[in-house]
Symmetry: C2
Subunit: 494 residues, 2 copies
């Protein structure tokens, strides 16, 4: 039966690709068909970089199917319009029918554009995983200077960074008090804001766009904010998030969850045992709380693809890590920001009793050593159980893998003690010095804070009498208040 495949994958993004790669490794004898709508596959989290970081006319050279070149599978460029779960068939837009044994939905996500007046004007864009569409944005912006970007999340911030570096006048509009405030604590997002301001990006926090103002040709010429400000603008790019693309899944009655993603189990199986779903179109469970969430990251999508791919015919690769940890990094100018798991503010919101450890150091052995750059790490631990809940990093382009190291510490629920005794490799021109390795020193700082907060009552500005009273009231704790030990304590607390 020539139109029969052991596995049919719908979608050719990172989730679909990694599923195909893994099936191929796990079940080399199985016949795989991957169906996708786009001629050129693009890296979703890199889409804005793809468009602006390359020279005019060379865009098409930039994209390729490298990852799949050694993989034994067939690819068809077409749209799937229907699925028959009983017959186990799919139907394409060009009316072909294929039979499957296992089906994988990797249908990704679609940009969500708020329903506001003027949104259909020429010059209003979203960030879509569509190569031709992105080229259209590039062409439109070419001779236009004032660009409004809506959204203060990662994509909005990266777009603002890129366009301001290209000499555009960028206006960044977002409803939150600060950019990236869902992912970083104040110490980090204020640095990010400063960097954008230094690149002449205009920040408009705490406002929504009320309507888009168009001229007589229906081309955008401005936006009106909900505080009634009107800003002249030549183009608007909405970076206001993505929603799971569940059109097919809904049509065939698969279970859809609270976050409007396809519901899957630990092994990415949907409510139909022969259908798996992976990537942005699914819902995840958050690592710490196991709450339903929808994290749309290519790295999570590929991880899900590997789990589905390994287990698609039988459960081979047992998933030990039962929840999804969000690991995000971004670059503004030459500065990199990364976060994993809980921030301090999220820990507080979630009711965690936490302790913080911090370290400021350099990414090479010495500040004067070549082009070393400042490096700042902040770790959050659960106070009583000592387990790491999350971390944030600021530094140069070197910190991306340092972030993954913290990510692994989180996934393995490592404790302060384990981090203090962590064995690492260092090199004078490649890493921080071993005596000031950031993750370890942040753990040492957390231990110090824990000792101070657990065992010592710190009583600055108190007279001798009050100190004696405190000591009587807290027999199990040491009360520090004498001028000498007070100085020591103050030094510790910086």
């Amino acid at each position: 039966m020539s139109n029969y495949y052991d596995v049919i994958i719908v979608g050719g993004g990172p989730a679909g690709i990694s599923t195909a790669l893994t099936i191929n490794a796990s079940y080399p004898e199985k016949k795989i068909l991957l169906l996708r709508e786009d001629k050129v596959p693009i890296v979703p989290c890199g889409m804005h970089y793809l468009i602006w970081k390359i020279k005019d006319g060379q865009e098409h050279e930039f994209l390729c199917d490298d990852t799949l070149k050694n993989v034994d599978l067939e690819i068809e460029i077409t749209k799937v319009v229907d699925i028959d779960r009983k017959k186990k068939t799919i139907t394409t837009a060009d009316n072909r029918v294929f039979f499957y044994d296992r089906l994988v939905l990797a249908t990704g996500s679609l940009p969500s554009l708020p329903d506001i007046e003027g949104k259909t004007a020429k010059g209003v864009f979203v960030v879509k995983k569509d190569f031709e569409y992105l080229l259209e944005i590039k062409r439109f912006l070419k001779n236009r200077m004032k660009i409004g970007i809506i959204g203060g999340g990662f994509v909005g911030v990266e777009m603002a960074d890129l366009l301001s570096q290209l000499g555009k006048e960028v206006i960044l509009i977002y409803p939150t008090s600060h950019i990236l405030e869902n992912s970083f604590d104040r110490e980090f997002y204020t640095i990010a804001e400063d960097l954008l301001i230094r690149q002449n990006v205009k920040l408009y926090p705490k406002v929504h766009v009320k309507r888009i103002i168009a001229d007589l040709q229906n081309t955008v010429k401005g936006v009106e904010l909900d505080n009634n400000t009107i800003i002249d603008i030549d183009a608007v790019i909405f970076c206001t998030g993505m929603k799971p693309n569940i059109e097919l899944a809904e049509k065939i009655g698969l279970e859809i969850g609270k976050q409007h993603g396809i519901v899957v189990d630990e092994y990415m199986r949907t409510s139909d045992p022969n259908i798996f779903a992976v990537g942005d179109c699914t819902e995840e469970r958050e690592f710490f709380t196991r709450q339903v969430t929808s994290m749309m990251l290519a790295s999570i999508a590929t991880s899900e693809g590997r789990i589905a791919g390994s287990n698609i015919f039988n459960l081979r690769v047992i998933r030990q890590n039962k929840g999804t940890v969000g690991i995000y990094s971004t670059i503004i100018g030459n500065s990199v920001f990364g976060c994993v798991g809980m921030t301090e503010s999220r820990a507080k919101q979630n009711g965690f009793d936490y302790i913080v450890g911090e370290c400021k150091t350099y990414d090479k052995h010495h500040s004067a050593f070549g082009n070393s750059k400042e490096l700042y790490v902040k770790l959050i631990f659960s106070r009583e159980s000592d387990v790491i809940l999350g971390g944030q990093v600021f530094g140069s382009v070197y910190v991306a893998e340092l972030l993954n190291l913290i990510g692994l510490c989180v996934q393995k629920s490592m404790t302060i003690s384990e981090l203090i005794t962590l064995q690492i490799g260092t090199h004078p021109v490649l890493t921080s010095s071993p005596a000031s390795y950031p993750i370890i020193l942040a753990a040492v700082d957390a231990m110090r804070n824990q000792l101070i907060q657990n065992k010592i009552i710190y009583c600055d500005f108190l007279d001798k009498e009050s100190i004696e009273k405190l000591k009587t009231l807290n027999p199990s704790k040491r009360v520090e208040g004498s001028s000498e030990s007070l100085n020591v304590m103050q030094a510790k607390n910086k």
Copy 2:
């Protein structure tokens, strides 16, 4: 008692510094004295870089006590000549006596120079952690062109790389068949050798230096090898390893081990309960075999310092990681090599039943994306228990922290399944793409190899009859031999 200290630390290298830092964090009220012989503390693994990577006359600006600037401790520049374990005192070369409650020996290591004819000639050097001595080497080499480096380990190779970049004619002489062959497999050390050869370094493998030839002024003018070759040379630098500095420890009767290092327990306590020892002067136990070994790395030294520092008055930080993992990285030209734990050849030597997983990719999302560079990862796993035994990395300056990520996988004894489902963060301009993240793809490759080797008997070049026979003999395994599946298998095996 003004000459009493709660802790006295002998030695101001990375081990001594990290001990001081950690005691200060764990026991802020304790009084610490650190004694060291050198005016300027230097990073031992960076010593050769320190000397050659900076401009003439700026050397002294380059060194500083940064790490200790916020730490509450006293430092004395002096040599300790005696210790009285009963009275708990130490005596310095300038005849001062200090009392201690706990003593920490961080006396480091000394270069080992083989006992050969002519070794006292002018122009024969070792690599010593002594700033003035290193400046002396620099001065001597200034107008001399032909430099012989003895030793094919990390220090020898880095010295050869540096001096050849400075335009010197470098001759690298070593007894092994290949440089770095104790740390890397063939795929890696051959790249390293090629890089040195391209930098015009002359390689002399499988030879020892028999004698050093000096002129009438007793200045080196050549070396004679044990194959009777004579090479004209203007200077010789021995990079032939270090030995633990146990002079004081031996004098006061502390237990010394098989590798001539001070014997310590899990918490860095010597045979005297009030004396701890950390860093190069101690012996370690190897992670996989628990055999006694002597790994001299600043990163291990600082880790030991932290364990001693946390536990010096009571056991607070329980050491969960019971053995030492060697994590090494080096740079030749712009290429970085890193290794952790077992290589394939060491696994073979040690009798491990192992499986290999490899991945070749790029350190950015796309090969055409900016200045991305090829990245090569090789992982070694135990076949039956699936646990990672080690890894090797080749790539750009970005791979140093990737190596630490593999190091953590080794320390946490992670399995192939865990690595396949590992969650990582990626970014287009900062890391490899999520669909080809090297550690994960190497694990997928290992799984594929395991499946092939465990379940399939691969019978290329066999006729049908032999294949049928094999099938009868191995009912539990699948025998692949048909032309079609054979092609699939061959594709998998590259």
